[in-house]
């Protein structure tokens, strides 16, 4: 058993080196395929971060009347936080709202003078609500509308909800995000599918060139596993080498792209590459190995039929 395994491994290595041209051609094609997969993963990460940062900028603000009781505000905040679509609710007190307003308009004498003349704080407290997905704001807005409808008209709590004003913009943004996500997913499937198909055909072609050898191996009484083993091992080696080469090619590219993506997307692709290197290594090298192994096993199967 061990001797057989040792011989298969040796034959795999010898075949890899002695069929150098076929090995090099297979590795080249597989490297291109893995580069496509790697680039797709990096673009997907870039897109994900960009969309997430856009989503982070979207929220709903609920403005309370100046006479609102803190207990009522707390109760509404608790109800909102209990909603599954809500990611975060941030409370801003009347005093904090005034501070921020004053800070924003400290150079506008008219406004500052007006505030002084009023004497009292004209601003109410507010809640800023962020949903998990932009598509979920519609549901949260409906919830707030129901809350408003149940209020006593003599003692209103909510003065304004800004979603009504921003509804169209948020819905447009939601549609754009969904379209970008869907099309990037479809593009990824097509690219990865093409990469797999090209790799499979290349390995199949490499094995096709050795079909005479396979028939000789059968004639001298080699078992199917004894014939298949070295070819599968060569497929694994193609994948391993291609995976490493594709990472080596990606490295200088992301080093160069890092500052550009940082200034444009506020996302440094090089930092991402380094921090996620383990996952990228496993994905690319693992995909290469699995692709090489299965492509070889499938390609050789037809020559092992009696």
């Amino acid at each position: 058993m061990w001797t057989g395994f040792k011989r298969i491994v040796r034959a795999g290595f010898v075949g890899f080196w002695r069929n150098a041209f076929v090995s090099a051609a297979s590795i080249f094609v597989m490297t291109v395929a893995l580069l496509v997969i790697g680039a797709t993963l990096l673009i997907d990460a870039l897109l994900g971060v960009t969309l997430a940062s856009i989503q982070d900028k979207v929220d709903i603000n609920v403005y309370f009347v100046t006479t609102a009781e803190q207990t009522d505000i707390d109760a509404l905040q608790t109800s909102l936080e209990a909603l599954p679509d809500v990611a975060e609710v941030t409370f801003t007190s009347r005093e904090r709202a005034l501070e921020e307003f004053s800070e924003q308009h400290r150079n506008d004498e008219t406004i500052m003078q007006g505030l002084e003349e009023l004497g009292d704080n004209p601003l109410g407290a507010s809640l800023s609500i962020r949903a998990r997905e932009t598509s979920q704001y519609e549901g949260i807005a409906s919830f707030l509308e129901e809350q408003q409808a149940q209020e006593d008209p003599q003692q209103p709590l909510i003065e304004d909800v800004n979603f009504v004003k921003n509804r169209e913009a948020i819905n447009n943004l939601t549609a754009i995000i969904e379209a970008v996500e869907t099309s990037s997913f479809i593009a990824m499937i097509i690219l990865v599918g093409a990469a797999i198909t090209i790799t499979f055909n290349t390995v199949r072609l490499a094995i096709y060139t050795t079909r005479e050898e396979i028939s000789v191996m059968r004639l001298v009484g080699a078992s199917n596993s004894f014939i298949r083993g070295p070819f599968v091992l060569q497929g694994v080696m193609y994948g391993l080498v291609s995976g490493v080469i594709s990472l080596l090619i990606l490295y200088p590219i992301v080093v160069w792209l890092g500052p550009h993506t940082e200034s444009f997307f506020q996302f440094n692709i090089f930092t991402y590459f380094v921090s996620e290197f383990g996952r990228l290594f496993l994905t690319l090298v693992g995909t290469g190995i699995v692709l090489g192994m299965f492509s070889s096993a499938l390609a050789i199967a037809r020559y092992l039929r009696v």
Partner: protein, 227 residues
Amino acid sequence: MIYFDKVSKRYGGDRATALEDVSFQVEPKEFVSIVGHSGAGKTTLLKMLIAEDFPSDGKVFFESLDVHTIPRSRLPQYRRKIGTVFQDFKLLPHKTAYENISFAMEANGRSDDEIAENVPQALALVDLEDKIWNFPGELSGGEKQRVAIARAIVNQPDIIIADEPTGNLDPIATYEVVQILRKINDLGTTVIMTTHNKGVIDELGRRVITMDEGRVVRDDREGKYVL
């Protein structure tokens, strides 16, 4: 040892007949030459014996075993009992002479010690000790065929089948190959060989089965080549 029992082979329904009702028997230690024009069915006959092809009718027996009832998973073991030699040598191009022969032993599950001992012996038998590390591309046609014969005998098979082994060789290499096959037969291995070469048949002076259009038309125990 080998028995072809009314074997017929037809391709494409009944459009092409490769073998028609072929029956003959080969005894252990015999040297049998099968002669006939191209398309007479000689190679088909050998393919039947190594289970590379299946008869449309009839049966092929090897030591009372119906060859075509052997399960696919057991075919490698069966083929190890037969050494094969072909006109185009069928050597593995990326393996040296030594590796081509040792591969057949490795496939047979032989130990490294056995391989190290038997491969040089097999190469010595075909007088190629000095070409042990040469690749097939570095050998002449006759040398390639001798490596193929060494590979065929190294597992000490019960029988050697040789399909036109001298077809690509010059007269001197042909003579050498025939002498080697005769020596192997003298050592006790059954040999079945197909050939076109009248000189080879005359040189051997052994049993000759003549085929024509898929039929056995003559079975001559005195080595006559008649077509």
